[in-house]
């Protein structure tokens, strides 16, 4: 379990980094951020990148700031930076801190990055689910400049994105949430810190006791995290009660195309999708403040 030989580049500026990736990306050169997904794959000799471009020394990629209506997350912002509620981000900050503890284990969260999770695109990535459900916008940077992509156009399947090999994901922007937005996250896995077998994130605004602007997403169920328009429609204008939640669960089960693997059948995952949506809705309903 030793990685095959590779050359490590440690650029100090983004310009150098994109230049290196322009040179080596097409031949399998890769960005390394937190290394929490990439290094295990190299040790198992599943990944053989001949060149690694380490972006950790690029200072401006480490920024976590609130902009005009969005939270900007730089490429080297670690999972652990969300352990404590990022106050300036308001409701969104609370949401992120309630989700982050479900990602891996404490030491891994000190290294792994938000943007690395999106770039890696594991179907069970919590951040992919957050990004897909809330509608993240991503900045991809190469020698030919920046391009902005919506998360849905970025995630392309299990461990697959539309990022070009020469591009670095330099920033992810998450829309801020209204003060009165309710949210709930529920994840099911076998052991603490494992990748989810199924998880759901829900967010909605409560107007006159009715659900408005529902955002419902599931992860770990399909090849990629996805917002479920049919479920959102089923909830729109409804009173948040067990009847509405049961209907949402049923709509979820009907809508998803669940994955299968050696230990988990598609049927189990599909049924689980309804359970996690229902429980996320229950959490959103009962939690007053996280």
């Amino acid at each position: 379990m030793k990685a095959a030989p590779f050359t490590l580049h440690k650029p100090g500026t983004l310009e150098e980094a994109v230049a290196l990736l322009a040179e080596y990306g097409e031949d399998g050169g890769l960005v390394i951020a937190g290394g929490q997904s990439l290094t295990p794959m190299m040790a198992l000799r599943v990944a053989y990148p001949p060149h690694l471009v380490d972006i950790n020394a690029i200072e401006k990629l480490s920024q976590l700031t609130v902009g005009d209506g969005f939270l900007s997350i730089g490429a080297t912002v670690r999972h652990a930076q969300f352990h404590r509620h990022f106050v300036e981000a308001g409701t969104l900050g609370r949401l992120l801190s309630s989700v982050v503890h479900h990602i891996a284990h404490y030491p891994i969260r000190q290294r792994g990055t938000f943007c690395g999770s999106l770039a890696h695109a594991d179907p069970s990535s919590e951040w992919c689910l957050v990004a897909a459900t809330l509608g993240a916008e991503l900045r991809l940077t190469s020698t030919s400049g920046d391009r902005l992509v919506q998360i849905n156009d970025f995630l392309d399947g299990a461990m697959s994105t539309t990022r070009e090999p020469s591009e670095i994901l330099t920033e992810a922007r998450l829309p801020l949430l209204a003060e009165n937005t309710r949210f709930g996250f529920y994840e099911f896995n076998r052991r603490a810190g494992d990748f989810a077998l199924g998880m759901a994130l829900v967010a909605y605004d409560l107007e006159g006791g009715k659900i408005r602007n529902a955002r419902i997403g599931v992860g770990g169920i399909e090849e990629k995290a996805r917002r479920l328009a049919a479920v959102e429609a089923a909830l729109e204008g409804k009173t948040p009660d067990s009847e509405a939640f049961a209907a949402a669960a049923a709509a979820t089960v009907a809508d998803v195309d669940a994955m299968e693997d050696p230990t988990t059948s598609a049927q189990y995952r599909r049924d689980l999708s309804g359970v996690v949506v229902r429980r996320a809705l229950e959490i959103a309903q009962t939690a007053t403040r996280f």
């Binding site: 095959a4 198992l44 099911f188 052991r191």
Partner: protein, 784 residues
């Protein structure tokens, strides 16, 4: 029990482990810490096929890779080997097929992970790089993956030249089984599939060999539980005398069973070192541990129990298939252990079990902590739960009615151990132990708790399981005790320390006799200079090495008193042993230190040795103990099941156990808790999955779910001490106890939580998906 054991010295005290300071401050000496100058690293090229033949191994490109010194096949090693195979299986007349492991595969591979050749390079990374360039022209053959299919007529054979896959058939039979079944009030039965995965010690296997030309000795270090067995195999296969091979056991980061087997890799590395005249080291990585270290895996039981109208067990009968893997690494011991264990805790009038040990194209099996006993307990306890149901008895009550009673002790069972000796339950009060577990867990009050929880939408369940653990496998273990000129008590033993606290245990027993100062005791475990010994397995060392340590220490005590009496001009009766010295009773200033006594006992040239028959303050003992000492206990698990997802959470776990007199209650607790973690894995998590072509699918800790601290429930341990009459200290082993009752207690609790569905889970481990699927397929079930 010897009168020399006073309650205020070291025996029986929960003292801190002597070995830990070095281990937890980074000063342990594990195999991979040993890095002699010029040491080369090995990567094995392993089979990607579960069954294939090959004609050629092309090493040309690999040899041109940076840092590579050699790429060795079995033919390359033969000049320094006396044979192509490692023959270490325990003998049994029941074995029909000889399938010993080759040092390296010659022209056929029979499981994924089997070693074919070894790349030797400056670094492990370079060796792994080059290993990818070794080309082998495999012709894949038919594969046998499932042990129940392996014995079907027309199944492909695991080895192309063998006629079938049935390695051995044997069984157990006593009493009038058929008669009991025909007269029984009730007969219950089921097919039970019990799976146990791998060992997953923190440190994997590893071996380092280097020839010391000055001494003319081949030095070998190995992360093994049985260094003496390795030495024997090396002497045979390298054709060398015992005094030209030295095997050392460095600090070992866990064993749990598989390291008791000698492996082909250990021989191959030593042979490569001889061949290349260089130090050569191989350290198993986690992937290799998953595919090439022994596992325990599958047993399939078809069993029936006959009971009378009051729930008394009349007879048990059935058959069992045991997955042996592709070669014999140890023998029939796991299957034998299962068969002999099944009826032990209870009075079972008649018993018939037919066992088939079956080859599969998978890595060989060898004992994992528990060694067949957990599977037997699972089947027995599940049958009892079923019987309780049909008779209409509480699950604890049916057990109480059948448990072996204290007035039956010692209780001779109509069974034999694999070595031919009798099975005699030596001591204990099994019903009292169970009673204490029931009281502690409030078994009687559970129904109320359960009903209240149901009102809150929660599904709670409770389950119980009893066990008897055979410990202290004989015939003996060596211990020598010597006081040196500095007054240090040096203890040397063939007992092997894999992290259990063996050194502390032995030091406590020795210090008890010799003044009670643990700080002057040095214990060296894993000794191989003395050929009399075996090593660590079968919860044996506290019993066997403990007995020898006690006897040797008593002799040394006598010598110290004799010589001190001479030095102090006092009668032995007026002396007492204090920490580090012998003094006149009540006058501790009038004393001789251990150092002075030892120096006097060693003597001076031309002067007579006073008092002693032999010079030196030392004694060596091998106390023979043929019968096993039986520990026992009862576990109660309380669980919450989530019917929506099938997930199970253990809310509380109680274990009442009796391992005789405890040398150190803290060490006992550690063994019990660790055993429960393994048992919890067997109940809910650990599964080594292979596909139909015997490709292993769970080869990382992301896929193979080992229990972590987060999954461990709160555990309450109750100690009872019924001294074993079989050894002077009254001790029994405990290393495997925790694992045995855990899975059946948990699975019984799951049934109970889902009582409305009327389920009887008949396998382990159970995943959430398994539980969920059973709930769905049972249409008559209720829902909250």
């Amino acid at each position: 029990m010897s009168e020399n054991i006073t309650p205020n010295a070291t025996f029986g005290k929960g003292v801190r482990r002597l070995e830990d300071r070095a281990l937890v401050t980074g000063r342990g000496r594990y195999l991979d810490n040993l890095q002699p100058q010029g040491c080369l690293a090995v990567a094995f090229v392993r089979s990607p096929h579960a069954h294939a033949t090959f004609q050629s191994i092309d090493t040309t490109s690999a040899l041109t890779m940076p840092g590579v010194h050699a790429v060795l096949t079995i033919d390359d090693l033969m000049p320094v080997l006396t044979g192509r195979k490692l023959i270490v299986g325990l003998p049994s007349a029941a074995i029909e097929l000889e399938v010993d492991r080759p040092i390296l595969a010659g022209d056929e591979v029979v499981y994924v992970g089997e070693a074919i050749c070894m790349v030797v390079a400056d670094t492990r990374a370079q060796a792994e790089d080059a290993a990818e360039y070794v080309e082998i022209d495999f012709s894949p053959l038919d594969v046998v993956s499932d042990c129940s299919l392996a014995i079907k007529a027309g199944a492909p054979t695991v080895h192309r030249n063998l006629p079938h896959n049935r390695l051995a058939a044997f069984g157990f039979r006593y009493g009038e089984v058929e008669k009991a079944f025909s007269s029984a009030a009730h007969v219950v039965g089921d097919r039970y599939e019990v799976h146990r995965g791998g060992a997953h010690s923190l440190e994997g296997r590893g071996v380092l060999a280097m020839e010391d030309s000055l001494r003319g000795v081949l030095d070998v270090w190995s992360s093994t539980q049985t260094p003496l067995a390795l030495k024997k195999a090396l002497c045979e296969l390298l054709g060398r005398d015992e005094n030209t091979i030295r095997v050392e056991m460095p600090d070992v980061g866990g064993g749990f069973g598989p390291k008791l087997v000698t492996y082909p890799e250990e021989i191959a590395v030593a042979a490569a070192s001889v061949l290349l005249a260089r130090p050569v080291k191989w350290v198993e990585d986690r992937r290799e541990h998953f595919i090439a270290a022994a596992q325990e895996r599958d047993q399939i039981w078809d069993m029936q129990m006959a009971v009378d109208a009051d729930g008394g067990i009349l007879a048990i009968r059935g058959s069992m298939i045991h997955d042996h893997g592709a070669y014999t690494a140890r023998g029939l011991n796991i299957a034998y252990g299962s068969g002999v264990t099944l009826p032990l805790p209870y009075n079972v009038g008649a018993y018939a079990l037919d066992i088939e040990v079956v080859l599969t194209n998978k890595v060989p099996t060898a004992p994992i902590r528990g060694a067949g006993q957990p599977q037997a307990a699972f089947v027995m306890e599940r049958l009892l739960d079923k019987a309780a149901g049909v008779v209409g008895l509480d699950r604890a009550e049916i057990r109480r009615r059948n448990l072996v009673r204290s007035d039956q002790m010692p209780c001779l069972k109509p069974l034999k151990l694999r070595g031919g000796t009798n099975v005699i339950l030596d001591s204990g009060d099994y019903p009292a132990t169970m009673k204490s577990a029931l009281e502690q867990s409030d078994w009687a009050g559970f129904q109320v708790r359960q009903q209240q929880a149901r009102k809150a939408g929660k599904f709670l369940g409770i389950g119980i399981a009893n066990y008897v653990e055979g410990t202290g496998r004989g015939p003996y273990e060596s211990v020598s005790v010597r006081v040196n000129r500095k007054g240090v008590i040096e203890v040397v033993t063939g007992a092997a320390a894999m992290g259990q606290g063996t050194e502390t245990m032995i030091a406590q027993i020795v210090a008890e006799q010799l003044g009670g100062d643990l700080s002057i005791v040095r214990v060296k475990t894993g000794d191989t200079d003395n050929p009399l010994g075996f090593g660590g397995f079968n919860s044996r060392q506290t019993v066997t090495a403990g007995a020898s340590a006690h006897a040797a220490a008593q002799k040394v005590r006598k010598l110290l008193l004799q010589m001190a009496g001479h030095i102090l001009e006092a009668s032995e009766d007026d002396l007492e042993i204090l920490p580090g010295k012998v003094a006149i009773k009540g006058v501790s200033e009038r004393c001789a230190t251990f150092g002075e006594i030892a120096t006097a006992a060693i003597g001076l040239p031309g002067f007579a040795i006073p008092v002693l028959d032999k010079p030196g303050i030392s004694a060596s003992e091998q106390v023979i103990i043929n019968d096993m000492a039986y520990s026992n206990g009862s576990a109660v698990a309380e669980v919450e099941v989530d019917p929506d997802t099938g997930s199970v959470r253990i809310i509380a776990f109680t274990i009442a156990h009796d391992c005789g007199r405890m040398v150190n209650p803290k060490l006992v607790d550690g063994q019990i808790i660790g055993g429960i973690a393994h048992g919890l894995g067997n109940a809910l998590y650990e599964k080594m999955i292979y596909d139909a072509t015997a490709q292993p699918l769970t080869t990382t800790f992301a896929d193979y779910l080992l229990v972590s601290a987060s999954e461990m429930p709160p555990v309450t341990i109750l100690h009872t001490e019924s001294p074993s009459p079989l050894n002077e200290l009254g001790v029994k082993g405990v290393g495997e106890s925790g694992v045995i009752p855990t899975a059946p207690a948990i699975i019984s609790a799951i049934d109970n939580a889902l009582a409305g569905w009327n389920l009887h889970f008949n396998r382990a481990p159970l995943s959430p998906q398994d539980v969920y699927a059973s709930l769905r397929s049972d249409s008559k079930g209720e829902r909250a």
